[in-house]
């Protein structure tokens, strides 16, 4: 049971590492943005960048391994689409810390308006 839990957490962290690594490259973020509105072919993506088709294909593969895009095939074309659920999950951890700090900032109000006993001015 304990072992299972640890393995699950390990899998979560592995997944998070893949996602954040994938997001750490400018071209890959750009591919994600372009593929949000619908499917784009790898060859049309490749025309947008000053790099080879193979290099763009490698970036797409990194995004695919992280689960950030899904790939499909249409004839000879390889199509890419952004998986929005994963993009949102990557932001989720930072969102949690934002929630924590917003709650603390709300509590500042109370402390500032009713100083505790012995408070220094």
């Amino acid at each position: 049971m304990v072992v299972d839990l640890t393995q699950e957490q390990g899998a979560d962290e592995d997944r998070a590492d893949l996602v954040f690594n994938a997001l750490s490259h400018r071209t890959r973020r750009d591919i994600l943005r372009r593929s949000m509105d619908g499917e784009l072919s790898v060859s049309s993506l490749a025309r947008s960048y000053a790099m080879s088709f193979a290099a763009v294909q490698k970036h797409v593969a990194v995004l695919d391994r992280a689960g950030l895009v899904t790939k499909s095939r249409h004839g000879r074309e390889q199509l890419v689409r952004t998986d929005m659920a994963t993009v949102h999950a990557a932001q989720g951890l930072l969102d949690e810390f934002e929630t924590v700090w917003r709650a603390r900032i709300d509590r500042f109000t109370n402390v500032l308006t009713t100083p505790s006993e012995g408070a220094t001015p």
């Binding site: 997944r15 969102d95 810390f97 500042f108």
Partner: protein, 162 residues
């Protein structure tokens, strides 16, 4: 008490949050420098904090415990790495064992507080947190914060299941 900016950087693993306080900088500083005031906001109402040691001088240490609804008492510490009252405070924040010593292998996050006078009165407060890894962020949320279980971890689990 208005949050005016939130800057989250998923690549640098930083979050910075800026708020405007209707109090002068010297008063806002006391929110941090007076342990009795600090413990009124550091923990959520369900996990109030008690600061046992509180030394904001350079290299100084603070130690605290939080008391949960079931009587559980998670412990933590700060180590001051930069201080310039009443404008700036930078410290490491980590978890501690029952006797107050820093927990071996537990994640440590770095926090920086900046306070600036606003023209026309009041204070702009910026709090920045930096994490060493995504794994640390998840662990800190699981261990250290009682404001709800991390939605993000659940989302990642959903993705793994799906």
């Amino acid at each position: 008490m208005t949050v005016t900016a939130v800057d989250k950087d998923a690549e640098q693993l930083t979050i910075s949050i800026t708020t405007e306080l209707d109090a002068p900088v010297t008063r806002a500083w006391v929110l941090w420098s007076d342990p009795r005031q600090l413990e009124r906001w550091w923990g959520p109402p369900t996990y109030p904090a008690t600061f046992v040691d509180h030394d904001l001088s350079l290299g100084g240490r603070c130690s605290y415990f939080m008391t949960g609804p079931d009587g559980d008492q998670p412990r933590g510490w700060w180590r001051i790495v930069a201080v310039d009252p009443p404008h700036r405070l930078e410290f490491e924040n980590g978890f501690a064992d029952e006797d107050g010593t820093p927990t071996t292998g537990a994640p440590v996050m770095r926090m920086r507080l900046d306070l600036h006078e606003r023209t026309g009165g009041g204070t702009t407060m910026t709090i920045a947190s930096r994490f060493a890894s995504v794994g640390d962020m998840e662990q800190i949320l699981e261990m250290g914060f009682a404001e709800g279980i991390t939605e993000a971890v659940n989302q990642i689990e959903a993705i793994l299941a799906g």
